[in-house]
């Protein structure tokens, strides 16, 4: 491995078989004929010569390296003694520790700690995700419900706002007036449910007691017009029947009774409207349409009977 060998440029690569033959030649295991042939090749081929020189150097170094030093070196006595003392004392400590401690090995402890650390990380991650979800889901539902309500409101045209009923209005409508039309009696009394949620108009609302239900479904009352302080009529329809009602208001007693006269339509005639004489008489006192007062924004313009028409106490 002389440096001047490298000056010949990059030597050509030689085959592995040739390399093995050169190693045997360098190691003294080649026959004389083989050695002569290889010497001839080396003189002709610089690559062979370079490889032979390198193997000579490696053989020399390996021979020295595998043997002990011819001139042994030693540390200074003070340093050597200190190092041996350090190693020896540590050796004694290690020996004592080994003889007294019979616990798990260091590797086992480290693995156990790593396992515990991984578990703790997993648990912490789960807790964090759970907290995050518990915080996010309710707020998401709230936002979603608000958005849905807003969307529902916006989707209803303004012209239809009068038809829109809130849940409270629907409930009130469901609990609205039940009219009973006795099949035999042709008199229909406007009745209201038991006034547990009956509105109190100046503490004077009273309702006529509802007769026993006979299974007749009464459609809601529609009040066409009020003219001249007189409740003109109300139509009540049930099946083929059309009931016309007239509310009579007596201001002195403030006891309102709605009496209805049911007039069956004659054949080939449309439904007729009859107005009782009493209603025409009571024209002097002001009539207040308190039972049909609009109390919800949703009911604006619908004029449905929220409750049975009670006595008209006049709110001022």
């Amino acid at each position: 491995m002389k440096n001047d060998e490298n000056n010949q440029g990059t030597p050509e690569r030689i085959s592995a078989e040739m390399e093995a033959r050169i190693v045997a030649w360098v190691s003294g295991d080649a026959s004389p004929a083989e050695a002569a042939e290889l010497a001839l090749l080396a003189s002709a081929n610089p690559a062979v010569a370079a490889f032979k020189a390198r193997m000579d150097a490696v053989r020399s170094l390996a021979s020295e390296g595998i043997s002990a030093d011819k001139t042994p070196l030693r540390m200074s006595e003070s340093r050597r003694a200190a190092l041996l003392r350090e190693l020896g004392s540590a050796a004694k400590e290690a020996a004592t520790a080994t003889s007294t401690v019979t616990g798990p090995s260091l590797v086992t402890i480290q693995r156990r700690q790593q396992r515990e650390r991984r578990w703790m990380l997993a648990v912490a991650a789960c807790v964090t995700v759970g907290l995050f979800l518990s915080m996010m889901v309710p707020s998401y539902q709230k936002v979603r419900s608000i958005a849905m309500e807003r969307e529902a409101k916006e989707s209803v045209p303004k012209a239809m706002m009068g038809e829109f009923k809130s849940r409270d209005a629907q409930k009130r409508e469901a609990a609205s007036v039940n009219f009973e039309v006795p099949p035999d009696d042709r008199e229909v009394v406007l009745a209201a449910p038991e006034a547990e949620s009956a509105p109190q108009f100046n503490g004077s609302a009273r309702y006529a007691p509802a007769p026993a239900s006979k299974g007749v479904t009464i459609l809601p009352v529609e009040l066409p017009t009020v003219s001249g302080g007189r409740l003109a009529q109300a139509k009540v329809g049930s099946g083929n029947q059309i009931a016309n009602t007239v509310a009579e208001v007596t201001p002195e007693t403030e006891a309102a009774e709605f009496k209805k006269e049911v007039i069956m339509p004659k054949e080939n005639e449309g439904p007729s409207v009859a107005v009782s004489d009493k209603a025409e008489v009571e024209t002097q006192a002001p009539i207040v349409l308190s039972p049909f007062a609009v109390r919800d924004a949703e009911d604006k313009g619908s004029y449905r009977a929220a409750h049975s028409p009670g006595p008209a106490s006049a709110p001022t």
Binding site: M1, K2, N3, N6, A16, E19, A20, V23, A24, S27, G28, D29, R54, M55, A57, V58, R59, S60, L61, A62, S63, E64, G65, I66, S67, A68, D69, K70, P72, L73, R74, M75, S76, R79, R80, L83, L84, E86, L87, G88, A90, A91, K92, A94, A95, T98, S99, L106
Partner: protein, 194 residues
């Protein structure tokens, strides 16, 4: 015949001991083994360190530091001898890097102080590198090198001792020698003087 390197393979804690006498020392072979390793490798490691740093006092410090470091990781090192050579090489190169200017200024004086010629120091580095490579190679290959270049046996004799065929001995030896050559080149050692 000269004594052979690598005759006393260090025994690490936990490794099965070949010692037949079951005394207290063989019960805990680890701590004793590092001291034995120090006894057997002290000279070679000092030569190797001196071949790199060219100063004996520094070489002693490096060898001491390497043994102290090895002692801390003794139970975790599979090949303590190879670990020592590699560690001393790294420590020496770090020392040269950290004290480059000082080394350049005192280069002439250092050579005279240590009374070792440069050629010998370079060869010491090369031999130390070969020892490092030998320490890191398999036991069978190291045994082959020993039989061939320490005991000067012929291929036929090696075949009889190892059970390998003659051609296999030649092939293995060629592979080992080429591995040493590659290792020396990787370590930056070119030429006969290292």
């Amino acid at each position: 015949m000269e004594p052979l390197m690598f005759e006393n393979a260090p025994v690490r804690p936990g490794a099965p001991s070949n010692a037949t006498g079951a005394g207290a020392e063989s019960m805990n072979p680890g701590p004793q083994s590092i001291a034995a390793l120090f006894e057997s490798e002290e000279s070679a490691l000092l030569h190797y360190a001196m071949g790199i740093v060219r100063r004996r006092i520094v070489a002693e410090e490096l060898v001491q530091e390497a043994f102290l470091r090895l002692h801390k990781v003794w139970g975790q090192v599979d090949n303590p001898r190879g670990w020592l050579y590699r560690s001393i090489r790294n420590l020496a190169l770090n020392h040269l890097r950290d004290t480059r200017q000082e080394t350049q200024l005192d280069e002439e004086r250092a050579a005279t102080d240590d009374t070792l010629p440069r050629e010998l120091l370079g060869r010491s580095e090369a031999i130390g590198t070969v020892r490092m490579l030998l320490a890191e190679m398999p036991e069978e290959d190291r045994n082959l090198i020993s039989l061939k270049y320490h005991h000067d046996l012929k291929y036929q004799e090696i075949s009889q001792r190892t059970g390998l065929s003659v051609s296999n001995v030649g092939f293995r030896l060629h592979q080992v020698m080429k591995g040493l050559l590659d290792g020396l080149q990787r370590a930056g050692i070119e030429g006969s003087e290292g």
